[in-house]
Subunit: 344 residues, 2 copies
Amino acid sequence: MEKEGKKTEIGTLGEFGLIERINKHTVIKNPETRKGIGDDAAIIETGNGLMAVTSDMLVEGIHFDLSYTPLKHLGYKSAAVNISDIAAMNALPKQITVNLALSNRFSVEAVDEFYKGIFLACENYGVDLVGGDMSSSTSGLIISITALGGVANEDVTYRSGASENDIICVTGDLGAAYLGLQVLKREKAVYLANPDMQPELDHFDYLVKRHLRPEARMDIIYELKEAGVKPTAMIDVSDGLASELLHIVKASGYSLNIHSDKIPIDDLSFKTAEEFDLDPLTCALNGGEDYELLFTIGQSDYEKIKYLNDVTLIGYITGKGTKAHLVTKGGDAIPLTAQGWHHF
Amino acid sequence: MEKEGKKTEIGTLGEFGLIERINKHTVIKNPETRKGIGDDAAIIETGNGLMAVTSDMLVEGIHFDLSYTPLKHLGYKSAAVNISDIAAMNALPKQITVNLALSNRFSVEAVDEFYKGIFLACENYGVDLVGGDMSSSTSGLIISITALGGVANEDVTYRSGASENDIICVTGDLGAAYLGLQVLKREKAVYLANPDMQPELDHFDYLVKRHLRPEARMDIIYELKEAGVKPTAMIDVSDGLASELLHIVKASGYSLNIHSDKIPIDDLSFKTAEEFDLDPLTCALNGGEDYELLFTIGQSDYEKIKYLNDVTLIGYITGKGTKAHLVTKGGDAIPLTAQGWHHF
């Protein structure tokens, strides 16, 4: 009974285009809703601080491949990627709800494995599992998680908060999760071609773990609090550094430069990228799924953060504008483009 | 890489069994978490009242059939069924997040239709769409919605609150949504057998609408507030009256009786059940998807609610215990059993 008429393929808009299309029609009616669509999490006023709310879906065959993804890791990751969005608001995660749709090819024991990962994440991040839904599906496993967190009015960080001369920082290293995925895909192909071959994953432990079981960088949130630093803007790196930088530019209305020689890339990522004939810098800029934190701080906070572990200064907010550039060693400024998300 | 070992089919536990299994391992760590798994919504203390949080999934081929479900109605229903859970906590809905996974057979225009329904529900219920996720799926449409609501400390209603001599009430009428679904399925079968046949839905408008576009009974929440009545326990009728009554029994530790001749059933439901060779009472008890509110009130509130529109008194909480009985006109007491939910 679908209506006849114009049919535009979803792929022509992509995820961000679709979300923007929806957001345009969104009207906020409740004064408690401080921030709706358009940041890592929505922000709701509770009368005693703020609550951050975020929700993400993971779909079998799109976001994960169960032939090389242990269910326990998948449970952990599903929780962690949502908690990462809470962290990006400078909030502390408190509760999650977990919705699962699964076909009858899954056993009770498989569900148990998945929840072992959920419970481990709950323990590690101090989060309560407070609800959810369990349904069957006609095919495959679909996970939808909502995470809630708390943050004081004065502590919340939006993407829009960056301003002139702010320093751009990123945690950890980038590109490893993407390369871990390439390794897993290769080993799967080898195994399918010859089931007697054992996967060679030992050398790639770090990369594979970065893909299968990422952590939300709550440690950085606590470190920053301790150092007395409130980022001016923050976002988590889920779609790739370039894409997240462009989100900050768009939300803040400021241009920025990052420096290619400052981008943190692990040695193993370098070597593995080479092995796969990939450019390590491209993996770091567009690989995605790093779940590191990208944030900006005022110049006056530089002294407070320069000795922090695992935080790298990668560039600066320049002036009002809409541009993000990568400055190479040779001094060239290359416009950053978001590969973003093109599952459709 | 799945582990070898015992494999128990999910169907042996069902939804409720699985959820109980998970709940057993759940540890609440945050003092703000007032109520986790086990009611219509989780309850979180905000320091300035309570927040209700609920999340539900709708899966194509399991919960809906797009061959007779207009996407706009589906959007509306997805929001309404979650808002119904917020209502069941005696809370006012405030925000929703919407996660969608959809295959590339859906067009941008189809997504628009779905969101028209979401926005209409947002308008009708005074709710803000504050976030969500958009993903592709390998097949079909999966919707996962989280709803948030606010309620004062003294107003929240749990399933556990029923106690001796409380009056059991239900809103609206029951069984119509289930019968609407039967009508739609029949017309689909007729159409598939002979595509020249036009569906005959006109006579069944009310039933079909009850299935395709149910409403959350927020009107009743406001009416009760106005009448100065706080239910002692409340739950929404999603799995069928019998199943919900058993939830109240289990949560409260009290037995109850309902009376067969008091169960509200619409005339059209009666006639249609007959046409389909179904027992109207069974449809009302076990049909599900009515999204009416089932609640208990203290005897002292009887005078306040007896003139309320669309509220029917169907029985009483008896004494401490674990039993729910249907008392027939002849005076027989038949134990209620939950058909519940057996999609697996």
